[in-house]
């Protein structure tokens, strides 16, 4: 029985009203057919392509065009974008808000990316900050967080989070030695900062729907940092313990909240870490392959049990 026939059947048996049946049958037949997603993707692709071309043109032709013209054009685009956004934004609310038009999200995204180009141009061409690139990156991060929260925009929130990660990376790149270990510690610090920050903002009800974004980014950065520690042949002990704890926490979170991405993180990152530990001194091919066969079967049994108990389709 097709869904159209089912709707008819449900209406006849009083499970749904005639109005619901007409509406739902229309949705199934594509009447009307929504182009919402397609138009948004087209807008996003347009913004991204435009900014790519802008960056390329500025870099290639800056000497011929001249700094003043380049900066004037970039500032004009920037000003126009932010004027548009601020003049059309609805009153700020701590709860999730919908933009008055979805164009606003993309204009804001365009403005944010042009801001990146202009700052990079200023620093690299005119050396305004005398090589203190991390300062403008930090300022950019703060600015993007402000924009993301002001306009309820996940694109810009992602930019803010990656800018913050960039700031940590740039700061540490000035350090002369022990790069890996220092990067790892800064990655953990980043996780703590973003995780705690996201949690506090969620608890205070400030755009609580952003919390999922924070959590996914923190989980991935954390697991990468812990795995890099486990791969270190000198000081892997504590990192391995931390990895196990993180996997346990991720698994528990995923199962209690039914967010199975976290179950997947725990399974994949945990498997890589444990395998790296157990196989690091094993050189025999047969033993290594036997390990993969046995552990893969064990993981399958475990995951099937999880899937049966918790894993509803999503």
């Amino acid at each position: 029985m097709t869904i159209i026939a089912r709707l008819e059947h449900w209406r006849e048996h009083g499970a749904i009203s005639p109005e619901q049946q007409i509406h739902l049958a229309g949705l199934c037949r594509g009447e009307p057919f929504s182009l919402f997603l397609e138009l948004n993707i087209l807008l996003y692709a347009g913004v991204l392509t435009f900014v790519a071309g802008l960056g390329w043109t500025v870099t290639t032709w800056s000497q011929q065009i001249g700094d003043v013209v380049v900066l004037a054009v970039l500032s004009a685009i920037l000003g126009a974008c932010f004027w548009y956004c601020f003049s059309r934004a609805p009153v700020w609310s701590a709860a999730e808000t919908t933009a008055p038009s979805s164009i606003l999200d993309y204009v804001l995204y365009l403005g944010s990316l042009v801001w990146c180009i202009e700052l990079a141009y200023l620093e690299n061409r005119l050396h305004v900050l005398s090589g203190q690139g991390d300062l403008y990156l930090l300022a950019t991060t703060v600015f993007f967080f402000f924009l993301a929260y002001r306009f309820d925009n996940r694109f810009v929130l992602s930019l803010a989070l990656s800018s913050l990660a960039g700031w940590f990376g740039l700061t540490i790149s000035h350090w002369p030695s022990h790069q890996d270990a220092a990067y790892r510690q800064y990655a953990l610090l980043y996780c703590v900062l973003v995780g705690v920050g996201g949690l506090l903002l969620q608890r205070r009800g400030l755009k609580a729907h952003f919390f999922g974004t924070y959590l996914n980014i923190v989980a991935n950065v954390l697991f990468w940092a812990l795995l890099s520690g486990v791969f270190d042949r000198q000081t892997y002990g504590l990192w391995f313990l931390a990895l196990l704890i993180a996997c346990g926490a991720s698994l528990a979170w995923g199962l209690t909240r039914l967010q199975f991405a976290f179950v997947a993180y725990a399974a994949v990152y945990g498997y890589i870490g444990v395998s790296s530990m157990l196989l690091r001194s094993v050189t025999d091919d047969t033993a290594v392959l036997s390990y993969f066969v046995v552990t893969a079967i064990a993981m399958l049994v475990l995951l099937v049990q999880i899937a049966r108990r918790f894993g509803r389709p999503a």
């Binding site: 089912r6 397609e38 900014v51 071309g53 870099t59 803010a160 800018s163 893969a296």
Partner: protein, 401 residues
């Protein structure tokens, strides 16, 4: 022919739709619970994340077991081929068994087993039938037996298990086939396009019967793939044949090597196909075909200059960006101004909560990935000017600007 009954798949589809409608508030919770009880399916499904990791660990297990066998027994190449064929049969039987006995549906396990059976079949046939044959740059029709088997088996897996990527695998095997039959690049392009066109005609013939049933999306996706395939086979500047040869570092066909009539015919075709695909997608209200039409239209704009031998300019992407955004804005406004925001059965409004979920997920992922992809490696033409660091605002958290 299909492993799962039509009623089971229809029931699963109904359950998914009910969940979406309840999430969108079209159905009340009480209605949802009642209707959910009426749409119980015997098939076992799981969510996308568990499906992915079940797929991954099945691959690890099967791959490990196979490798273990060959490491311990170390057979000759020819014997290995025979063993691969045996493993292919075992994997296929296992896939059938878990799907039919345990009623697993898009569960990762049966999918990975089916994929492994396809890989083992091709590797096994190659080793069993053609091991030890000296390499020859000339086409060898006999060796096309392996990719041909790959095409047939992939199509079988697609039909039997309903796995969309098996159809994609069949298309990839098809792209390899003409290389065994002829060394003429023009003939290879035409053959691939013809084979895809035959597939398209067959799909277009079958589709009307499944307009609103559970197979509608599957056929829609397949048609979109075939349109894309025909386009890519015809676009000599983007062709997979060229990319493969560039990657392998062997002789690359340049535009000058094609006969001018053929070259310019393909140029006409790459301009003719996008409106055709878009028109069909819009007429059928087919999301995947519309997407395929949009993609081929953008690819035509991107590859037009190389086709004509014109130099690219740094501002070309800007113009393309303005064009794409302009089209999106124009279409949105035009639709919004229609009565009730609808024109000719189309609307720019969001009708499903799924769209918003996609947007949210996409915005996070693309927001993190896209700035790096914009800034990396684009600016390389200025000799004495370099944006160092490129770390501005996530606009490339690392690397040179």
């Amino acid at each position: 022919m299909r492993l799962y009954s039509a009623s089971s798949e229809e029931t699963l589809r109904a359950r998914r739709l009910l969940k979406d409608w309840a999430g969108d508030g079209i159905l009340t919770q009480a209605q949802y619970q009642r209707l959910e009880r009426e749409t119980v399916s015997e098939l076992r499904t799981t969510n996308v994340f568990l499906r992915l990791i079940l797929f991954l660990f099945t691959l690890i297990g099967v791959g490990g077991a196979t490798a273990l066998f060959f490491v311990t027994s170390r057979p000759s190449e020819h014997t290995s081929g025979v063993f691969f064929l045996i493993f292919a049969a075992i994997c296929y039987v296992a896939a059938e068994a878990v799907a039919s006995q345990a009623r697993l549906y898009r569960y990762g396990i049966e999918e990975a087993l089916a994929v492994c059976s396809g890989i083992f079949l091709c590797v096994g046939m190659q080793l069993a039938l053609f091991s030890g044959r000296p390499y020859s740059p000339k086409p060898d029709e006999v060796q096309s037996f392996v990719p041909a088997a790959g095409v047939i088996f992939s199509l079988w897996i697609w039909r039997r298990f309903g796995l969309w990527y098996a159809f994609l695998a069949a298309m990839i095997f098809t792209m390899v086939l003409p290389g065994y039959w002829t060394s003429s690049h023009s003939a290879q392009h035409v053959t691939i396009a013809l084979l895809y066109a035959i597939g398209l005609i067959l799909v277009a013939t079958v589709r009307p019967r499944h307009r609103f049933d559970y197979l509608a999306d599957a056929y829609s996706l397949v048609e979109a793939f075939l349109w894309l395939g025909i386009y890519l086979a015809m676009n000599l500047q983007l062709s997979w044949l060229n990319l493969r040869e560039q990657w392998l570092g062997i002789h690359t066909a340049t535009a000058a090597e094609f006969a001018p009539p053929f070259y310019w015919t393909t140029w006409v075709l790459i301009w003719g196909l996008p409106p055709l695909v878009l028109a069909r997608g819009i007429r059928q209200k087919d999301r995947f075909v519309i997407a395929a039409g949009a993609i081929v239209a953008i690819l035509t704009l991107v590859s037009n200059k190389p086709y004509l031998g014109w130099p690219r300019h740094t501002w070309d992407p800007m113009l393309l960006g303005i064009l794409l955004s302009g089209i999106a804005l124009f279409v949105r406004r035009w639709l919004d101004r229609g009565p009730g925001g609808i024109r000719h059965g189309f609307t720019a409004a969001r009708l499903s909560g799924k769209d918003k979920e996609w947007m949210n997920t996409g915005s996070v992922v693309l927001g993190l990935v896209a700035p790096q992809s914009i800034t990396a490696g684009q600016q390389k033409r200025s000799a004495d000017f370099e944006f160092g660091g490129g770390t501005s605002g996530g606009g490339g958290a690392s690397g040179k600007f």
